[in-house]
């Protein structure tokens, strides 16, 4: 029943695992970024895989799970801090079925599965977002905040608003899968 969301075939690169990455997105340090499959990186998004932990060897900076969407103009930047006098970036891990709305800036440490982040949110450094949580549009989550599972956060600073329904997980899973299937290349003349 939902209408398809079209994109132009020339703009997006589709990988073997079904990831769709816009050519207009800025992907810095792609060797440090993991996409789980069927994940969409929209145009204008900036993913800073180059901000890696100092030291030799290969390091995963940002990992995204399956069926994620990084909205238009999102910035995903690993969190940093000076610990014992040493400045360092820390990896960011995002679970499956996570949607991040357009224009949000994310510097979280961990984002669980089935998390919905609205548009124009600021997710502060080292924020931990547990499974099935939801961040309303225009929320500013201060650094080091912990967002418990199945809770809705809104406002500035982001505060707990209410508990979400027990079936949130099912809804989000259906919605994110549907979104992926609706997201189709436009190749017929309409």
């Amino acid at each position: 029943m939902e209408p398809p969301i079209y994109y132009s075939r020339t703009e997006f690169i589709e990988t073997d695992t079904g990831n769709k990455v816009s050519r207009r997105a800025t992907i810095a340090g792609p060797q440090n970024i993991i996409l789980g499959g069927k994940t969409i990186i929209s145009s204008g998004a900036i993913i800073r895989g180059d901000l890696r932990r100092s030291g030799p060897g290969h390091a995963v900076v940002i990992s995204l799970g399956r069926y994620c969407v990084v909205g238009e103009g999102c910035v995903m930047r690993p969190p940093y801090k000076t610990y014992r006098g040493a400045f360092n970036y820390y990896p960011m891990k995002v679970g499956d079925y996570v949607h991040i709305g357009a224009g949000s800036v994310v510097e979280a440490a961990t984002i669980g599965n089935y998390v919905q982040i609205g548009k124009n949110c600021i997710i502060g450094k080292f924020t931990i977002i547990k499974d099935c949580a939801r961040i309303a549009d225009n929320t500013v989550v201060p650094p080091n905040t912990v967002i418990p599972a199945l809770s809705l956060f809104a406002g500035s600073p982001g505060r707990f608003v209410e508990d979400l329904a027990e079936s949130t997980q099912d809804i989000v899973e259906v919605h994110t899968k549907q979104y992926y299937s609706r997201f189709q290349p436009l190749d017929r003349d309409r």
């Binding site: 209408p3 079209y6 929209s42 801090k81 099935c132 912990v146 418990p148 027990e166 309409r190």
Partner: protein, 562 residues
């Protein structure tokens, strides 16, 4: 607003007929499907308003520590570890060390780190409040609540609370001695506890807090009958507070001279603590923002839910606080067919817009003319589609009917007739003959998962071609349009009157019949052990909202339709 379907829960009234949909109060009777529960025992829909809720576990929302229920009371329902709330903005505070050479600006450059120089203090990452402003510092960065314990224990509110406890303790002890004999009858006496579930809850309360069982019903009935009060009088001596409330606060805050003095030299409105900032304190506090103290973070709870009628558990979460799984989860979405409604002309338009956007520049579809697009114009006829999804492992037969005045009249005690006498300005036609929906099978979902992309492409093709043919097969707008997997799409039509305005909302009765002979795969095998090899029918009401009507004379963009 997109068209929506909400489901009726009859818990607010005695009749099973839902209230007319255009009344504002009706919204309390209708819920989205995913918030509803289903009791197999009662064979009925339950909503969050009618289920009885029990706490199954406590946890701190910040450190996620699962607090054993035994210590919840001792810790006054707040986190007793390192979690504090900013008194200014309700954000979580973090512990920061002082900088050895210059403690003044050390906090700005020193981020969270557990090593550093004492004294430590609490710092708000959002509003930059810090606890040294109110003279709270710590020698070590752990066990902050314990370090603050002394301060807390000497505060007037906790002293008053201790006094209250002291006052009631002998009474509680006395009553707990006799409670073994009297608790049970006195709870059942209470006229408030007619429902077995509330009786169970109050019994649990009585078990947890010894005096309550005896005290509560007596005190309640004491207001009504003098006899009970006289019998109770010797047990309940009058409580004298430690402080007189009018001079309880040293700062005033009751509008005394201190407050006047404070107001007189007020320069900035933010110096006055807002009501929200003072709200969480259990004691009257200073009016001044700079006197606000950090608060321990209140605990959250995980809850299990029971059917109000038969007390069967509908929701039972897993013990682990951050787990999102449930041991028992009887949600209506697993029993009732899910209905989504769409207006094809809107869907088409959305598709066009996104296609245009993709062709143009790959930018996001512009959303500003959404309101105009979502509205319906008076005097026109619109087709609409309803997709029904069968969650059961058995095929179901569905019959839809729009609730009308004469439909309601067949059942006694309907309240909607008077309001309904004013006829709605639109006519709905939906297929009235029963149609079938294929059973839900895991295989489809699997297939869906694997080749969703390809599958949906075909489906899209079918839909697109179907839409193009729409003009020539116009007679087929009402009826079953499409069947695939466990989804059946039926079409309906709404004809709007010339003078129509307001919202197109109507109640729809959905009755579905399923076989309950097969106990193994069927979800509802517990429902009817006696009625084997029979069909069962379950009916529920929904309200379908198709959107707003734009009066004909008005322009398409209406400032009131937001």
């Amino acid at each position: 607003m997109a068209p929506s379907v909400l489901y009726h829960c009859p818990c607010l009234s005695t009749s099973s007929i839902p209230p007319p949909p255009h009344l504002p109060s009706s919204s309390y009777s209708f819920h989205p499907l995913y918030t509803l529960f289903f009791c197999e025992e009662c064979d009925a829909v339950r909503c969050n308003r009618c289920v009885s809720v029990e706490v199954s576990g406590y946890y701190c929302p910040n450190c996620l520590f699962e607090v054993p229920s035994a210590s919840v009371r001792a810790e006054k329902n707040r986190c007793a570890r390192n979690c504090f709330m900013c008194p200014n903005c309700r954000n979580t505070l973090s512990v920061v060390p002082s900088d050895p050479p210059d403690s003044g600006d050390g906090r700005l450059s020193a981020p969270i780190s557990t090593v550093g120089e004492p004294p430590f203090f609490l710092y708000c990452n959002h509003c930059r409040w810090d606890s040294s402003e109110v003279g709270i510092t710590f020698e070590k960065p752990t066990g902050l609540a314990a370090q603050l314990q002394k301060l807390e224990d000497s505060s007037p509110d906790s002293l008053e609370y201790e006094r209250l406890k002291e006052h009631f303790e002998p009474i509680i002890r006395a009553s707990s001695l006799s409670s073994s004999s009297s608790a049970a009858p006195s709870t059942s006496h209470s006229h408030h506890h007619s429902n077995p579930i509330t009786a169970a809850a109050s019994a649990a309360l009585a078990r947890d807090i010894p005096g309550v069982a005896k005290y509560t019903p007596h005190a309640r009935s004491g207001r009504h009958s003098g006899k009970d009060r006289s019998a109770n009088k010797d047990e309940m001596p009058e409580y004298k507070s430690r402080l007189n409330i009018s001079n309880a606060s040293v700062y005033g805050s009751g509008g005394g001279d201190v407050d006047v003095e404070f107001m007189r030299r007020l320069e900035d409105v933010s110096e006055v603590a807002s009501l929200e900032q003072r709200w969480n304190y259990s004691w009257s506090t200073s009016l001044e923002t700079r006197d606000l103290k950090p608060l321990r973070i209140p605990l959250h709870s995980k809850r299990s839910k029971r059917c109000p009628a038969c007390t069967h558990i509908l929701i039972k979460p897993e013990q682990k606080a951050q787990s999102v799984r449930y041991k028992i989860k009887l949600v209506a979405a697993n029993y009732l067919p899910a209905i989504t409604v769409a207006l094809p002309h809107q869907v088409e338009m959305l598709g066009h817009i996104s296609a245009e956007a993709a062709k143009r520049s790959g930018k996001a579809p512009v959303e500003d003319d959404k309101d105009a697009r979502d509205n319906l114009q008076a005097g026109k006829t619109y087709p609409f589609h309803m997709a029904l999804t069968n969650p059961l492992y058995d095929p179901i037969q569905v019959r839809l009917s729009v609730q009308r005045v004469h439909v309601a009249a067949t059942v006694t005690g309907e309240g909607g007739t008077i309001e309904k006498a004013r006829r709605p300005p639109f006519a709905i036609s939906i297929p009235t003959t029963p149609f079938s929906i294929a059973p839900f099978a895991e295989a489809w979902e699997y297939e869906d998962d694997e080749e969703m992309f390809g599958l949906d492409d075909d489906e899209l093709e079918a839909r697109l071609s179907g839409r193009e043919k729409e003009t020539k097969s116009k007679s087929k707008t009402v009826g079953v349009l499409e069947k695939r997997a466990n989804v059946t799409v039926v079409g309906g039509e709404v004809a709007l009157g010339k003078e129509a305005r307001g919202e197109v909302k109507f109640n729809m009765l959905v009755a579905y019949t399923y076989r309950s002979d097969d106990p193994a795969p069927s979800e509802g095998h517990d429902v009817s052990p006696s009625k084997k090899a029979e069909t069962k029918t379950f009916a529920f009401y929904t309200v379908v909202d198709l959107g707003n009507i734009i009066p004909k004379e008005k322009s398409r963009v209406d400032p009131y339709d937001v």
